[in-house]
Amino acid sequence: MYRYNQYDKQFLEERVEQFRDQTHRFLAGKLSEEEFLPLRLQNGLYIQRLAPMLRVAIPYGCLNSIQLRKLAHIARQYDKGYGHFSTRQNIQFNWPTLENVPDILHELAQVEMHAIQTSGNCIRNTTTDQFAGRAKEEIADSRPWCEIIRQWSTFHPEFAYLPRKFKIAVCGNEEDQAATQVHDIGLYLVRNLEGELGFKVLVGGGLGRTPIIGQVIREFLPWQELLNYLEAILRVYNADGRRDNKYKARIKILVKADGLEKFSSKVDAEWEALRNGPGTLTDEEVQRCSSFFSSPSYQDLPDEDEALRAKLSSDVLFHHWYERCVHPHKQSGYRIVTLCLKETGKAPGNLTAEQMELVANLSDEFSFGELRATHEQNLCLVDVELARLPELYTSLKQGELATPHRGLLNDIIACPGGDYCSLANAKSIPVAEAIQRHFNNLDELLNIGDISLNISGCMNACGHHHIGNIGILGVDKKGREFYQIVLGGSAGREAAIGEILGPSFAQEEIPQVIDTLIAVYLENRSPRETFLQTYLRLGMTPFKEKIYGKAA
């Protein structure tokens, strides 16, 4: 994991002092609400429905046990004893007071954490695949590149007042779990014919009101030019992105309006001026950043275990957990383990302070003290010895973290929704819970198999409903909370935006609607076909007819 040097530390200290001063000036009436707004947002602080919300960055999802213990402490000391992991690998606290935020930031800085640029119209936390550096099939480890982008984007003076927020994702895994294609910039690590490393660059993806899959602006960008090229894109966006309408201000709208060809020629013109300049990355810098992400000291272990095999055949729940939550690892004798934060009755992605401490201890005990936060709002231990999986499972069970739901219908992605967020049209959490309660039979869930269900409380799409195989969107219908269903979205390398099923439903109807959709799938599926594959084969019609009846 990346460790801060004296410069990184100094930046954080200076930032905390800057924000302390700004908060002080705001509270003293020397900064207006309007002047303070972007300053607090760029420190992760929203003013929400019930209280401020503080979003703390977990850069590209990497976290260590010391940091997680600090988050537990903050949850307990400044909040109501829990935190919420978001789809962007960050963690949110819903109950801090404004006056306390500088102190919270100071505490975070002690463990090399911060809330810098987790909100506001600037470059946000760079995200990546949670298996980076551990996946069996990997082109290259994305984490050093994420760190390089983190540094470049942190306090970039030219891009602090962009037309709108800006999100970058990097993926080096064959399987894209970072929803890379729906980011303002998506970067896939690739090798060219000569075997040199570079990036396939996508631009203009995004969700929100206008969901769009990013377009390929460059098939191969040599890694040396990464920052120059990003700078060129950002410069064109900062100069030409719309500022007259918040809903048309993302880069996707500019790319669409210009057309890819024109947009790309503008980027090239900027890039020409920057190319081979001082921003060009060096071997030394890439090696330096990569050195933080070298493998831990693995033992030489066989890739099978007698006791594990026995446990798998004797304990059916363990077997299910193993099938759903344990993933292949590049190192023989090791596995990646997902901790599914989707226990029924708890808000998806929420973790209590006690659970955080338990997970921190388990990561020390089982996984070299490191963790990952995922886009699906779960956590991962990425270096667990195969033979110790039964032992880990027992400990996770005690913390209610061993639900075998990873990738099943109950592994719901959901934004905090109307219970917390002042932007929301409707609640998300009770809808997620109603669905989880309706589908409470594990055999049934396993029979349904791989599926993603994503819920957003409004058009801003923080719950990524457009890219769920089933997406649920909260809408306001004459002051009442209704829910629209979209089908067929997906987030991986074959990313797709879901299509609207039809008229929306009342909250209490949703579990039955999902039940009907699942029934259509189960009736029609071919052997081993997933929900998405069946949907892609059959199209919308059979689902629509079953829900709304045949058109007259």
Partner: protein, 178 residues
């Protein structure tokens, strides 16, 4: 009364007179007559008209161009040698409109402009250091700030990760690790 901050850090009463887009040439002439010691900032299109007709001064008062985010640098660079202009003002209609940062970067880095870059409009001290790092060296501050506050805001961060106008060498090319 607005203050002028000129880097490295001299403060004075601002004498610059900023005139909006729709100003007429005769209004400018009147301003120059009334206050010949005050340089007048006019929108660059009008400035081009005036400077083509006459000179860079009217009755002893300097006429200088300003641009904002809506303007294209190409128009300006195609018609004049930039480095013949002592000062260009970049205007922030709102402090949240970040386009002048890119204008400044382009003027300094792409066009190699050496004269003064003056920030006008809706700017507060919390934006100063980023502006300076993009190449601004003069600022008209509308609010009444203490000089110590301004200096503190300008030196919030000692270092920078990126390649900047003020120091093009990014941290990764300079850093020495303990």
């Amino acid at each position: 009364m607005a203050k002028l901050l000129k880097l490295p850090t001299t403060f004075s009463q601002s004498v610059y007179v900023w005139m909006p887009c729709e100003t007429t040439i005769s209004e400018i002439e009147t301003q120059c007559r009334v206050q010949p010691e005050a340089p007048v900032l006019v929108h660059y299109k009008l400035w081009q008209e005036i400077t083509q007709l006459k000179s860079l001064e009217i009755g002893g008062a300097k006429i200088l161009p300003w641009l904002d985010g809506d303007d294209s640098l190409h128009d300006l660079t195609n018609t004049v040698a930039l480095n013949s202009i002592d000062l260009i003002a970049l205007h922030f209609p709102k402090f949240t409109d970040g386009r002048p940062y890119t204008l400044a970067s382009r003027l300094r880095r792409t066009c190699d402009y050496k004269g003064h870059l003056l920030a006008t409009g809706d700017i507060g001290i919390d934006q100063l250091q980023y502006m300076e790092r993009c190449g601004f060296d003069m600022f008209i501050l509308q609010k009444d700030y203490e000089e110590t506050e301004v200096l503190k805001a300008l030196s919030c961060f000692q270092e920078h990760y990126q390649s900047l106008v003020t120091n093009p060498v990014p941290l990764f090319r300079r850093q020495q690790f303990a």
